[in-house]
Amino acid sequence: MTANAEDQELKDRLSLIETMIAEGRRSTGSWGWTFVFWGIAYYVAIAWTAWNHWPWAWLVTMMSAWALCWGIIRSKQKNQLKRNPGTTMGRAIFSIWIAMGVSMALLLPALGFSGRFNQHVFVAVVAAMLGVANGASGMIIRWKAQIAAAFVWWAATVAACFGSDSQCTIVFLVAIFLCQIVFGGYAMVCEARLRKQRGGSND
C-alpha cells in the first residue's frame, strides 16, 4: 500500500468515527406536539376557571393533562419499531422538564392552600418556570427559537408583576399562544421536515 493510500485509509477511519458519533447523538424524537398539547391544556384550565370559578379547575386539568400526555408518550414508544437510544443530552433536557413539572405541582397547590395565592403571583411563577425550562433546553440543544420562547416567558414574568388582573390575564394568554401554540407548531413543522429529509423513517 502506498503512503498516500495509507493516509487516506487513516482519514477514512477518522471520518467514520465522526459520522457515527454524530449519527448516535442524532435525536429525531418528536416533542413539538407536547408544547401545543400543554398550550391547549392551559387554555382549558383558564376557560374553566373563568367560567365557574371552581378552585380545583387548574389542578384537575393539569393532573388530567399529565395522565393523558404520559399515556400518549407511552403509546408512541410502544408503536416504535426501533426505539431511539437515550443520550446524556436527552436525559438532561427530560430532567429539566420533569423537575419543572414537579416544582409547579408542589408550589402552586401549596400557595393555593396557604391562601397566599393570587393571579399575579401565579402567572409570574408559571412564566418564570417555563422560561427556565425553555431557556435551559434551548441552550443545551442550541436552538434559537426555543431561547426566544424563553425570553417571551421571562418578559411575561416581569409584566405579570405589574398592571391590573385583566392585563395579567392577557399577558398570560399571549405568552401561551406564542410559546406553546406557535412555537409548538413550528417545532412540529421542523420535525416533519427533518423526518422527510431522512427518508420518512421514525428512527
Partner: protein, 100 residues
Amino acid sequence: MTELPELNPVIHGKLRLALLSLLIGVEEAEFTWLRAKTGSTDGNLGAQLLKLEEAGYVAVEKKFVQRKPQTLYRMTDAGREALTEYVQALKQMLGAAIDA
C-alpha cells in the same frame, strides 16, 4: 524520530469501529438500532459485537420487554478508553504523515 503507536486491532475493524463510535454517544442501544445504523446483517453484527464484548469494550444486557426479547449494548469504561486511545493514535499517525 518518535515511534509511531500501533492501532488496536480489536477496534480497527470498520464495523467494530463504527459500533464503538455509535455507542460512545448514547447510554445504551438495542441490537436492532445498531443494525439499522450500520446496515449490517444480523450474523455479522452479532459476531462483531461478541468480539467487542470479549475484549471488555461493550456490556450486554438481555431482557424481555412486553414478552419480546431485547438485547441492549452499552459501552464500558474500558471501551471508552480504548476508543480515545485509538483516535489519539490515528491523529498521531496522520500528523507524522504530514510532517514526513
